[in-house]
Symmetry: C2
Subunit: 745 residues, 2 copies
């Protein structure tokens, strides 16, 4: 995955045979009746096969443009075909920079040259594949050669720069040193450049994925002192995909921007480093001591700077166009061949990528094998299944984006859902996505067995919320029929489907137990996975069971299982959130102004380390939320009416066809062709990655970011635009309710 | 101070002349009228003199029984006399162990021998006074020689052992390694022993007072890798003072317990170490990774153990009886010579002790000098002032306790208040004590100028709450007439006065800005103080101004300025706290039982690192709080009535004498001669140090600790006893109100 919200986790040792046996005799497989196709499906995925796919696919480095990436694509193509699918490789040519020069040295107060190299670990066989490994770098950094004092900016988020400003420290003309975590790495140089920084060094603090959490590799799973997180610094919240072909497919003959015109490259040179390389730089800094929450786990006093540590950063790249191979396989639908259930996971990695992405891709392949086997046994899906292994996700969701751009018209006509995964782990279901699918996810979670507890995945998911939440959230987890799923921001291949084309989407994984610190390093490989995670691949099997069940139910449903009451409930919550957000901002500004005016802030200042007294600020104005409130209420009424109508629905084929045709278009109603303010590629008015978070979601983004960025007039306009989208959906649901009920309203 | 709640702070550089000038022309010194004695007092303390006292008193190590401790006492005696006070040295003979052997070595999995030595720092002149320095040790550890595996127990508080139990780790037969902070150090071996540990190592984690906060000594103010916090591990919550003479004075001829009978020594051998010595031990541990909040700032993975690190700990002591010198000076009252205003600060230190205790003692001496000068100018206090410099505070409040035990009858008859300090620093007023004095503290805070802001101490105090609190607490700080003061637990010399003898007490200091890490080390000296704190002693002057003003107002008041409405308000709050505490415990047990019963905890367990499922537990019963509620209501009514009567009071001398005689006894009403459950020496029913916190206060301790320790029947009995004490006070206030109003009710 290009980015990740929390630490990665994986598998545990267990007896595969025991699990297969347990599943075969699962209580829901009643002896009284013929099992359904999705019940049969769930008994068939083979954990050992998943392990074999992983071993094959992660055997060598397989980044975009590498020999083994192509080899993997061809191997998967052959497998899909062998398993009875129509399959093809779709090829794109994309800008993919690789390092030419990388230099980082401290020039004052002492000299130090960064190593910028992950050492071979003798017990780890693939860590020595040096000739095929990409060096440690951030893809889509611009070329640059700068020398400047350092400023430490914590995670480099907007709130971190507010804190710096409060401390009276500026990054203007400085090179920022920022730690990984808390936001998509691509936003770190972006925000730094907006504040006037001339360079950006991103390091992995041991507080976040090093020894603070557990022993380091190879003794333990965490990042060792020389481990480096590679990764893309593309400005993903502008648009994903090839920086040179925004909105269109980078196929042969496509019109390409000149590199100088590409909006999604960084503005300043950027380089990732290990904490071994970071420690001397950070230790040489002076200036105010960093706030408590900014301090990492290095045995030093963290300081803000600027300087006196001064560094020289030089990076240049080979700005090459490289071929990219998407493997796309279909199993044609019998009744509704033009309704597509799409399932995807990327296949490219930064290096060997056993965890990222193969731990998610291997289960997808096993689903495909078993679905093919069921088809041979006589199952014919009503709708068409499209299974895809994307290339180029790591640099910027390239494979999925270019494909979704190329097939945009078809997708907007035919796509029912897109189901994504991107790595997998051990523990609790982690599901996010369109809230029309929340109820379906809960139903499937009740049908799939958790490999460790032998209870349902749903029960363990619920237990995790109950055990860790409190108050209203815990009560809700106990009483609400469905557990809530999160909304999608970005960071994996659902983005072009959901946010560019309006296809209802899900992102799925298991996780929660095992931390690791090998993300995007040469140590994310089969050795690490086998030693520190579960060689039994039981959760890989569970993921295959889960997403395969989803695919079958969606493919075979008489009426597509979209639920609008959960969506309406969630939307009502978003409207309240926005109102609270505005009130909170108003209260904050009022309080700060008061503390400035009445001398409170002057009185608490420390003359030994004075902080500037902030200027008075206008209190955010009241905004008219009424259009959104009314739209959400109307949506709630329509959703209830549809649900009631559905309970009494008949089975007339023409009626079903007409209703489904409407339902497919439901998510599309959130698309506004003009896109979000200042980023037209993102067109979904309910879900988007934050402009300054990169993958963290901003729901109702036009309104929310308008408030956050103090563009209040824009926020009020966005209220109207979002309300109109909701109203379009409400009309569609009313129409569907009428059709289900036997006529139009 | 024997213990401290938060990090220590001190002074800043500033122009003494400027401050003296500013104070001389303070706006409250109106030209229209003759300044009052307390106004004149505040213009006179001399910051430079305070610095000179510090330099003299901290010039050599001056722990109990040392040559320089006696020399200091004699020097102070001479000064008091020179300044016009009657002064005397009162001598006691107390058990004061010093180290004979100290050995700590790791015997497995590798060998390591702890250094147990604070090195001389060449730039720090007094750090080289090796021949007079006490070695690093914990006073009142028993002798012992044990070898056992290590278990890491965080701060070693009851809740830390609950967490260990939840993780399935036992300390039985182990040596615990515990970090300083979070509780009085003496509770650490006590609680460890209760859980079956055989030894206790206490170390200073750099997270708490080392490089995590700032640069280490001598580059910065924080603890360096070899710095060690000495300190007493006496079981202070049982009783303070000489372990061999509980409840009676350890004067010549006193009956002494045999050492084997002393209840306040540790049960297991205990030794403090530096983080330089701790790191190899902690790094060699395995077992579960410690919870996030337990992890310190060493560059290691913190683990719980047990083992495989195994250590050999051997400590033996010279169990000597040492002489101890309290310096006690009096300035006799004219009108009420038998009403005493007592002011104290200890003079003994662990080593040089510039910060602890001299930064508090030097201002006290300057108060005494100025009060003496005023007396020569014609001021005659109505009440008697008693100024004391206590010896033996560090080992266990020995000097104050033995004195208070010796003079118990007199104190209970004559003592109006006890005003304590114990070190001082730069920033905000930090006042705790009897809530009858809360209003007076606020009044004085409005009268004393803050040296940095030139506004009142009160305004800066209020600003600090407003700027850092939120919600109700912030609103209250803006709207309530008086800012709240905290309640007193233990950790300094107010304990025998307040909690043994029922004397209304205060503890005062300034602080909040400057962190340091030299507490109880050889580096707490004049060099450190002068380099990292303020050589101008402006806050030393402010403390002298503050407590001297308090003393004058208390000495000269027609009616003693006790306010019962704030006490009643606080008491009402305590009753609500207790009810909430019980409800919270009930809710916790109900919730945990539910999660056990419905399988939630089993479902969230990690089979790779399973935690034991807790047993079902009885839900705490409902308790009858009505007696307390009724008593608090009656107290509130009486307090209001007294306040109203006071507003119309006359000035008849006999009436005033009669009212004051009642008021002196007000705090005494909280004393119950049978003391707290299982610790009869502590007799105050409203304020006590927690049995398991050591200095952190437990208000309404009988009831609160009954609930916390699951002694519900006892808690309910204590409710009745506390209610009776409040009723006694209510009757006294009603009586005083009647007298003020011109008769008895």
């Amino acid at each position: 995955m290009i980015g990740r919200m929390s630490r990665r986790t994986t598998f545990r040792t267990a007896s595969l045979a025991a699990v297969l046996a347990a599943t075969a005799f699962a209580p829901w497989l009643s002896a009284q009746r013929q099992p359904s196709w999705d019940e049969r499906f769930r008994t068939l995925p083979d954990a050992a096969a998943i392990g074999q796919y992983m071993q094959r696919l992660s055997a060598r480095p397989h980044h975009v443009g590498s020999a083994y990436s192509k080899d993997n694509a061809e191997w998967m193509l052959a497998r899909f075909k062998e398993w009875g699918w129509d399959a093809t490789i779709e090829t794109y040519d994309v800008l993919f920079p690789t390092p030419k020069e990388r230099l980082l040295e401290m020039t004052a107060p002492t000299r130090f040259k960064a190593q910028l190299e992950e050492p071979v670990v003798p017990v780890d066989p693939t860590s020595g594949q040096k000739s095929e490994q990409l060096p440690t770098y951030n893809a889509y950094s611009v070329d640059g050669d700068v020398t400047a004092p350092l400023v430490y900016v914590n995670y480099g988020r907007p709130e971190d720069y507010e804190e710096l400003e409060a401390a009276g420290v500026s990054v203007k003309g400085a090179i920022v040193i920022v730690r990984y975590g808390g936001s998509f790495r691509g936003t770190k140089p972006k925000i730094a450049a907006e504040h006037g920084a001339v360079g950006c060094i991103i390091y992995s603090d041991p507080r976040d994925d090093g020894y603070f959490a557990d022993a380091v590799f190879p003794e333990g799973p965490m990042r060792n002192k020389d481990g480096v997180q590679r990764g893309s610094v593309l400005d993903l919240p502008q648009y994903s995909g090839d920086p040179l072909t925004p909105g269109t497919a980078s196929i042969a003959g496509a019109t390409r921007l000149d590199i100088t015109q590409a909006q999604t490259l960084t503005k300043i040179p950027t380089l990732p480093i290990s904490y071994g390389d970071a420690q001397p730089l950070l230790a040489a800094m002076r200036g105010p001591v960093a706030p408590v929450s900014w301090r990492g786990a290095l045995p030093i006093t963290y300081r803000l700077g600027p300087g006196p540590a001064q560094v020289h950063l030089k990076v240049t790249f080979n700005w090459d166009i490289k071929p990219m191979y998407d493997v796309v396989a279909t199993l044609k639908g019998s009744t509704y061949p033009d309704e597509w259930i799409i399932r995807g996971n990327h296949h490219d990695a930064w290096v060997n990528g056993a965890s990222d992405p193969i731990s998610g891709l291997a289960p997808l392949l096993e689903e495909a094998r078993v679905l093919g086997a069921l088809a041979r046994q006589g199952w014919t899906p009503k709708r068409t299944l499209v299974y895809a292994a994307w290339d180029g996700e790591e640099p910027g969701l390239l494979g999925s984006t270019e494909w979704a751009e190329q097939h945009e018209a078809e997708l907007r006509d035919k796509a029912v859902v897109y189901i994504n995964s991107d790595g997998n782990s051990r523990g609790f279901l982690q599901a996010s996505g369109s809230h029309t699918l929340e109820h379906l996810v809960n139903e499937v979670a009740r049908s799939v067995e958790d490999p460790e507890t032998k209870g349902s995945v749903w029960k363990r998911w619920q237990s995790n919320i109950v055990a860790n939440a409190s108050g209203d959230r815990r009560n809700e987890a106990r009483s609400r029929a469905d557990l809530r799923i999160g909304a999608l921001g970005s960071g994996s291949d659902y983005t072009p489907f959901l946010q560019h084309d309006g296809v209802a989407s899900l992102n799925l994984s298991f996780g929660g137990f095992d931390e690791d610190g090998i993300y995007h390093s040469i140590y994310d490989d089969f050795y690490h996975f086998s030693k520190f995670h579960d060689p039994g691949f039981l959760y890989g099997r569970a993921l295959a069971q889960f997403s395969g069940t989803l695919a079958i139910r969606l493919a075979d449903a008489d009426v597509l299982p979209f639920d609008f009451t959960n969506l309406a409930d969630t939307t009502q919550g978003y409207v309240r959130d926005l109102q609270n957000l505005l009130k909170q901002k108003q209260d904050e500004v009022r309080e700060r102004n008061r503390e400035v005016t009445d001398g409170t802030l002057a009185a608490v200042n420390d003359p030994k380390a004075p902080r500037p007294i902030p200027a008075l600020e206008d209190v955010p104005p009241a905004l008219n939320f009424a259009p959104l409130e009314n739209a959400a209420s109307a949506l709630t009424r329509a959703a209830d009416r549809y649900k009631a109508a559905l309970a009494k629905a008949g089975s007339d084929p023409a009626m079903l066809r007409a209703v489904n045709a409407r339902l497919i278009q439901a998510e599309r109603q959130f698309i506004d062709e003009s896109g979000l303010p200042r980023r037209p590629w993102y067109r979904h008015l309910l879900y988007a990655p934050g402009f300054y978070t990169g993958y963290g979601v901003k729901t109702v983004p036009g309104v929310r970011e308008g408030i956050e960025q103090k563009r209040y007039a824009e926020a009020e306009k966005e209220v109207v635009r979002v309300a109109a989208a909701i109203d379009r959906l409400t009309a569609l649901i009313e129409d569907a309710a009428g059709k289900v009920g036997g006529g139009t309203r």
